[in-house]
Symmetry: C2
Subunit: 269 residues, 2 copies
Amino acid sequence: MRTVFYISDGTAITSEVFGHALLSLFPMQFQHRTISFVETVEKAQATKALINKVCSQNGEPALVFHTFVNPEVREIIDSCDGVIYNFLEHFVKPLEQELQITACPKAHRTHSINKNSYDNRIDAVNYALANDDGSSITNFEQADVILIGVSRSGKTPSSLYLAMQYGVKVANYPFTDDDMENLSLPAFLKEHKKKLFGLTIDPQRLIDIREGRLAHSQYASARQCRMEVREVEKLYKQEKIPFINTTKLSVEEIAAKVLSQTGLQRYKY
Amino acid sequence: MRTVFYISDGTAITSEVFGHALLSLFPMQFQHRTISFVETVEKAQATKALINKVCSQNGEPALVFHTFVNPEVREIIDSCDGVIYNFLEHFVKPLEQELQITACPKAHRTHSINKNSYDNRIDAVNYALANDDGSSITNFEQADVILIGVSRSGKTPSSLYLAMQYGVKVANYPFTDDDMENLSLPAFLKEHKKKLFGLTIDPQRLIDIREGRLAHSQYASARQCRMEVREVEKLYKQEKIPFINTTKLSVEEIAAKVLSQTGLQRYKY
């Protein structure tokens, strides 16, 4: 199996995203290795030695995705036995021409603290935790969006992802069995109706997830799951609340759809 | 201000990372706009019209970062008035040659559900939530790593980030004022000593964060913050627990350092 290295003087997140996006186009298995914080000549040399050892053991060159801007470290990595893919070098010159400004390598710290947005993100994570699962219904004023749905339809991970990645303040509220008879919007949600965004899920997937948590319970029964999903979807339609089915979606996709459909601003930049 | 578009037929996360990494090299401000799920010819045409309108209004071409693999949609976006940056096209051919296999555009869904790893990530998020802030000290057996530190040193966001992005199971345990007299490792931590990873923080930053939460409290006082930081750092050194100072680190950097220093496997792929 081909070994792939993702290397950077920072977190290596950019190298990983860059490499994964490309390798996902190839129907093959790879052995992945990430080496972050290669900030010194010594660490670069050790990394080069490791790559060379892997190339020699495997009898084929490793693929090396990196984003170094420090020329000293970069030259060491570039001289290894692996095949180098560095997307920065292809795009920096054209961008310099278009923007009429010289790139400034020292600014290259994509995933470090950005004063303007970082506290927003941490505040949003704390907000999501404090307003998870209907634990507080008095702070909805501050929410950018309120995710609603039955238990285990994806509200909590989606709220946390939106907060962590984009600094969006997301509360979430679960409809439980107690709400199901004559399901309607409680007053504390109704007054924030424009912020509501519904999640739904295929009943069979919901059964599987709930069985994993509370096997053989009424909570996980086919009848209960089907009824809950039917009732919330009816409510979303009646109240004209936008909603998506999360069955086949990752948290990344759910988050992107919520942002796209609500037109919410992202605070990451 | 130059407008930048990040466009994709999926979440557009890859386009954003790609564009941000490049633009972070330029000491300028940009106006950012993300357009996700451009999956149809109609949506591509609407997107092109929007880009053209922005270019015309601004009197300068927008920058357009995209990663389309569907040729029909891609040609429409490529024909807009913006300047196109598409990193896939530069690297697909060289990779095809190196791997001796043809790229398979349909597989391009970097941020969708990957059966093998996705459930791991959601399980890890649930684990992090259930084992946050010392709320449970009986599940440490299952932890990949246990973050320890004083209150507000970054344990919770870091735990959630490691879980969400990498599927790593992280518990965290706070040392509180009650622990401070003759601070030592409690037995339930001592038996998992190899999993312990310490966070520390500069006292002044800790004071600022705690003041934001509980102004004028003993909890936020300079004396208290300095004492707690001094005591935990002494403990880390005595017990030879690896630790990092989070004062100037983002959650991405904390996570990358924890992974790098513990040698933990990432489950994302």
